[in-house]
Structure formats: C-alpha cells, structure tokens
C-alpha cells in the first residue's frame, strides 16, 4: 500500500506567489548591478535596460530586467538535472521528491580533535575527508568541503576539486574563487567524463555561484554562471540575504530579495546558453545583530531556506539550501541541535540538494566527526521520508488477539518479516546501549564515538575509481596549474 511522504508547508501558496510577483517588480523597477562586462552586454542584448551610469572602465552598471524578459528566459530552465558519479555509473537526479545531502563547502579550517586544535587543513586532510564521504552512503554527493592550505592561494579552488576527483567517486558540489580557475576545473571534469559532450550529458559536478547582496552579480560569479552554462554544468545559485544587514530584516522581505537575485541568475544562465541547468539555492542568514555574525543554525535562517525552496519548487526548478550545519565551535549539543533540525526540516521541505553536513562555525570549519554524526541525521531523515507505511490490511488486531497475557512478539513471523524495514538501525556513533558504567569518564560522548567511527571507516583500503590514464592526466593538469602559480609540484599526502 503506498505511503504518503510527510511534508510540511512553511508558507502558503498565496505568499509564494506574492514573493515571486514582487521579485519580478524588483528586477523590472529597481534593477540590479551586473559587474561583469560580458554578462552586462548579454543581458542588455536580451532586453535588459541600463538603469544608471555605466562604469567607464568596466563597461558595467545597473540594469532593469523587464518582466516579459525574465518570464521568457525562466521558461527555458530545465526542471530536473541528472548527475552521474565519476565513473558514470550511479545517477543522482535532482527532481521533485528527491533529497540529496552533501557536506558544506569551502571551509577554511579543520576541527582536529586528535591534535586538540582548529587548524588550516592540508592535502592529507582533504584526502581523508573525500574518502570518508565516499564511505557514508547517505551522502549522495560530495563537495569540495575544505580548502587546502599547502598550495598557493590562487590554486586553492581548483586543487580541492582535483582531490575530490582523484580520491572520491560521488558527483561534486564545487565552485570557483576566481575567474581564471574555471578553465582548469572544466578541463579536469572533462578528463574524468571523457569529453565535453559527455560532460554536459551527465555532469559530475555542480558549480556554486553567489550573487552579492543586495542585488548585485559580481564579476567573478557572473562569469562562473556563464561559463558553467556553456559547459552544460549546473550552476547552483547561492543567494545569501543577511537580514537587517544586506537585506530587509523581515523574513518575507529577505525572501523577495532572494527571489530577485536568484531569478537574475537563472536569466543570466539562460541568456548564456538556453536550457542551461540551474538550481534555485541559497545560504541566507538571520544575521545576529549583537555580534555581527551570520548564524546558519538560527531557526529564522532555516525558515527562510524552507520558504525560498517553496518558491523554487513553484517555479518548477531543482532546489538547494545550506542546512544541516551549525555555528557551534565544537561537536557538541548545539552542533547536534542546529544540524539535526536543519537536516530534518530540509527533508520535510523537499529540498533537492542539502549542503552543510560536517560544518561548524558559520561555514568556516569542517569536522570529520560531525560528518559522521550528521550522517545519522540524514539516515533518520530518509527514514522519516519513507513515512508510516500501511503494511497490512488489518494492522494490529489479529496480532493482539493471538497474544496471551504477558506474551511478546519478539519471535513472531510478523516481527521477523518487518523489523529491519520498519525500524532504522543507527550506526555506531549513536548510543542506544544500556548504560554500562556510572563514571562519566567511562561513558564516551557522541563526538568520541564518532572519532572512533572515522578511524574505522578510513581504515578500509582506498579503492581506485578512475582509470590509470585518467589519473595521470589529472595529475598532469593540476601539476601544471600549481607550477604556474609558483609551487614546486603536487604536494605530498
């Protein structure tokens, strides 16, 4: 008997429609700044109208985008995206009813419990991280989660992709930090997929691109959107209205801004390449006005996420959000609270790509232990999405009628038939044993259990996924890039 997936509707449909209507008006009447010359010209050619002075050096400025133009280009965006892993075997589809989790991206620091510090990561850390993601099945995608500190700064975006391709198997969520890097990143992806055509058919990667709040598409990120569109690689728009700072303080106001910035991204991608795959994503934050920080674990942040996802779904686009991460600095109760809430809410909200696992400290820090614990939350989310299934016409009456007083069902055929499917068995990081000790020191914390799990999972030997020739070519491309930036060669590790 079919089950009903549990869902929740955070905002009513009428409000979704009003948000979209006002966002169209924002683009048509207020306009937005486009800091990239090619993007500015492209949008102008499609009907965008100069709405202010043009920068004499850059040839860029503010544009308004007429409603008809936005509607027309929006219509071209595909409503689903089919990714494949690096070997072209497992497909990950971004379509209604599918939720995929991946680690939060581009952390600057690593939480290192063995050394007792938070530090800049290096090659060996990224390699461990990528391998750990591969071994955790509820992460359907990996991301270039850490930024390696042992390569020259200008290569820090391409090098993290190189390591994800070299040691991982799952499709990768990534992005550029500077315009020049796109070419080498695309070259590596083509190498893995075996050519430009195959790359576009089943992309192995998604490129994140952030508009700059309020209402600006920067030079870097406009370029990334156009480059990705032309290569057939999906762009994931990561609009981040920060309430009360770079966006209205009201959640509804921030949602209008989010929609306007993201619509502009969709329009730019479609203008560059009709039919370009795009994802309606974001990483908003309910800014903490005491400390000037950007909390990802605030409930209002998650409310904005779930709401803009409803807007994206209404527009028939794949959706994404930064959820399942925490502002805590340790793998502690706050980390679990904020991440668990985010993961469950994202699943209920039907978001297609949910990025954030492993992350601490406002998107600045990654933790392997937290990645393992968040994976448990993902398992719970998937279990919850399966819903309460009606397995039998008569659900309990027969069973109860058979039971003698004081009897049990432990060995009943009905129990044996269903117990593995009905009840999720968590991994070793979660503690469901009876308490075996009284001294607190003898009762390991979740973080300590997760630490053991990390080492257990990483003890399994590395499995080479790519052909030897592809690996050699990846090494060659990356080495040339590193040398051009002044490094001696590929780092060890």
């Amino acid at each position: 008997m079919p089950s009903r997936h549990p869902k929740f509707e955070i905002i009513p449909r009428a409000l979704v429609e009003d948000i979209i209507g006002e966002a169209f008006d924002v683009l048509a009447r207020v306009g937005l700044f486009v800091e990239n010359r090619e993007a500015y010209d492209l949008l102008t050619a499609h009907g965008g109208r100069p709405a202010g002075p043009v920068d004499p050096d850059k040839g860029t400025g503010k544009l308004t985008l007429p409603i008809a133009m936005v509607e027309e280009l929006l219509e071209l965006a595909p409503n689903q995206i089919r990714l494949k892993d690096l070997r072209g075997e497992t497909e990950v589809t971004l379509a209604p009813g599918r939720t995929h989790f991946d680690p939060g991206s581009a952390a600057l620091f690593l939480h290192d419990p063995a050394a007792g510090v938070i530090r800049r990561p290096a090659t060996a850390d990224l390699r461990r991280y990528v391998r750990l993601v591969d071994r955790l099945p509820h992460y359907h995608l990996q991301s270039t989660a850490l930024v390696s500190g042992d390569v020259p700064g200008p290569c820090s975006d391409s090098y993290r992709l190189y390591l994800a391709l070299r040691y991982g198997r799952k499709p990768v969520v990534t992005g550029t930090f500077r315009k020049e890097s796109f070419a080498v990143m695309r070259e590596m992806l083509e190498t893995v997929r075996g050519g430009a055509g195959a790359l576009a058919q089943f992309p192995p990667a998604i490129f994140d691109a952030c508009p700059s709040p309020p209402l600006m598409w920067s030079d870097l990120t406009s370029q990334s959107v156009m480059d990705a569109a032309r290569a057939g690689l999906p762009s994931e728009f990561v609009s981040m209205p920060l309430t009360g700072s770079t966006a209205p303080i009201t959640l509804a106001g921030a949602l209008v801004q989010h929609a306007a910035e993201t619509l502009a991204g969709v329009v730019l991608a479609q203008a560059a390449q009709p039919g370009a795959p795009v994802i309606w994503g974001g990483s908003p934050s309910a800014m903490d006005l005491r400390f000037g920080t950007t909390p990802m674990g605030a409930i209002e942040t998650m409310m904005i996420d779930a709401s803009y996802a409803a807007v994206g779904r209404f527009l028939d686009l794949p959706t994404h959000a930064y959820m399942g991460l925490s502002d805590a600095k340790q793998v502690d109760y706050q980390a679990g609270l904020e991440s668990g809430l985010g993961i469950i809410l994202a699943a209920l909200a039907g978001i297609n790509v949910v990025s954030g696992a492993g992350m601490l400290d406002f998107e600045n820090c990654q933790s392997l232990e937290k990645l393992v614990l968040d994976h448990e939350a993902c398992a719970m989310a998937y279990r919850m999405l399966r819903g309460v299934e009606r397995r039998d016409e008569v659900m309990a009456l027969d069973l109860l009628a058979e039971l003698p007083a004081g009897g049990h069902l432990l060995t009943h055929p009905h129990t044996l038939k269903w117990y593995r499917e009905e009840i999720l068995v968590p991994g070793k990081a979660l503690d469901r044993r009876a308490r075996g000790a009284d001294n607190l020191a003898d009762l390991p914390t979740a973080a300590q259990r997760a630490q053991q799990e990390v080492e257990r999972l990483l003890a399994a030997p590395e499995e080479p996924w790519l052909d030897e020739a592809v690996i050699r070519e990846l090494d060659r491309i990356m080495e040339a890039e590193l040398r051009a930036a002044g490094a001696a060669g590929l780092p060890k590790g």
């Binding site: 600057l108 500190g149 009360g244 770079t246």
Partner: protein, 210 residues
C-alpha cells in the same frame, strides 16, 4: 547626575542632530574643541564597551557612531585647518579580488566609535588605490581585510609594494578576515592581526601608542 548626561544620551540613542546641537552649545560656551569633544568620546566608548558585552546591538552601535560623527563635524568642520581629533587615522579596505565587506565595515565602525578617523575604501581595492590614499591621507594605520584564501596573498603583495615605494615605515599595517591567522600576519611582516572587530580596536590603540 552626570553634567553631560544629555550628551551621553544623545550619542547612545544615536541622535545625530541632537549630538550636533549639543556640540554647538559647548563651542558657543567657549570651550576649546578638545574640551568640547571630551564627553562625546566618553559616550562613544561606552557604546563600544556595551557592544562588546553583547548589550548593545550593531544597529545601535552604528547609530551611536553616526551621532558621534555629527558632533565631530561640528567641532572639527571637515576641510578646515586646525586641530583634529584623533586617536589616529586609518585607511581601510578589503583587498583586490575580494568583495566581502561586512567584517571590514564592522571593524571600521568600531574604530570610529573609539575615536579613530577612518577612510574606508570599500571592497575589491587595488594596491594602486591603497598606495594613492596612503600618500594622500598619511594614515597611522592601514587596515586590510581578506576573506578568501585566494585573496589573502594580496595582503602580502601590498606589504611588498609599500616597501618598494618606501612607505612601509610610514604606516602600521593591521590585517584580518576569516582565513587570516597570527602566523600569516607574522609571515608577511604585518604589524598585527585581530580575529574580530573588538580586538582590532584594542590592537589599533596599542599600535598608535607605540
């Protein structure tokens, strides 16, 4: 009651026109500019302290800085010769290729709140523009923010440029931003690093005292 309670309130309430009017009253009473300014400084410092305690929110702090600036402009009208306030002058900006500005703006607001004169050049600031402004303003401090691993290197390049142009000894350099560390600051020869805006102010105060 504090005789300057009304000044304290005007600044803490972020009442710019009130603060300006009270500044005018003090000048009209024949006080010297520095005497006139005193209670305003005390008030803005209180705002900064309360922000650090988490008692004052960012909008309140920024409003207080604006009130402070309004009073300052009355006491030391811009563009006129004569004594200037100052704990020191700061040229600040986010380095080239980097448009993350919020943290830098916060640092600037807090520096202002503590009596520094700040020339904020914004985000994505080229080395040429920093150099030009250092020549023009002759600041005590240069505050460089970078939020990306790809743009941190611009802090080093700018320090090298300062040395080449013979300007390194004229200005103390303070660096910050999420990827920046004490070690990095040391490696590139900066005078200091601060992890957040409050500590940036402490460090700035120390650096100008030296």
């Amino acid at each position: 009651m504090n005789p300057n309670e009304n000044i304290r309130q005007a600044v803490l309430d972020g009442d710019a026109s009130g603060a300006a009017a009270l500044a005018r009253v003090r000048l009209d009473a024949g006080l010297s500019p520095l005497e006139a300014l005193d209670p305003f400084i005390a008030a803005i410092r209180e705002a900064g302290d309360r922000f650090e305690l988490g008692d004052f929110f960012l909008p309140q702090l920024l409003m207080a800085s604006q009130a402070m600036r309004a009073a300052l402009e009355v006491i030391f009208p811009p563009g006129q010769a004569g004594p200037t306030l100052s704990r020191g002058t700061v040229v600040a900006g986010t380095v080239q290729g980097d448009i993350h500005e919020i943290g830098k703006s916060l640092v600037c607001a807090l520096l202002q709140a503590h009596g520094f004169t700040v020339v904020d050049l914004g985000g994505d600031v080229s080395a040429d523009r920093f150099i030009e402004q250092i020549r023009a303003v002759n600041p005590d401090l240069l505050a460089l923010s970078a939020l990306l691993t790809t743009t941190m290197i611009q802090q080093k390049m700018l320090l090298d440029r300062l040395a080449q142009e013979g300007l390194r000894d004229r200005v103390k350099v303070l660096v910050g931003g999420a990827p920046v560390t004490t070690q990095w600051a040391r490696d590139i020869g900066a005078d200091g690093y601060a992890p957040d805006a409050a500590r940036a102010v402490d460090l700035a105060l120390k650096l100008v005292e030296k």
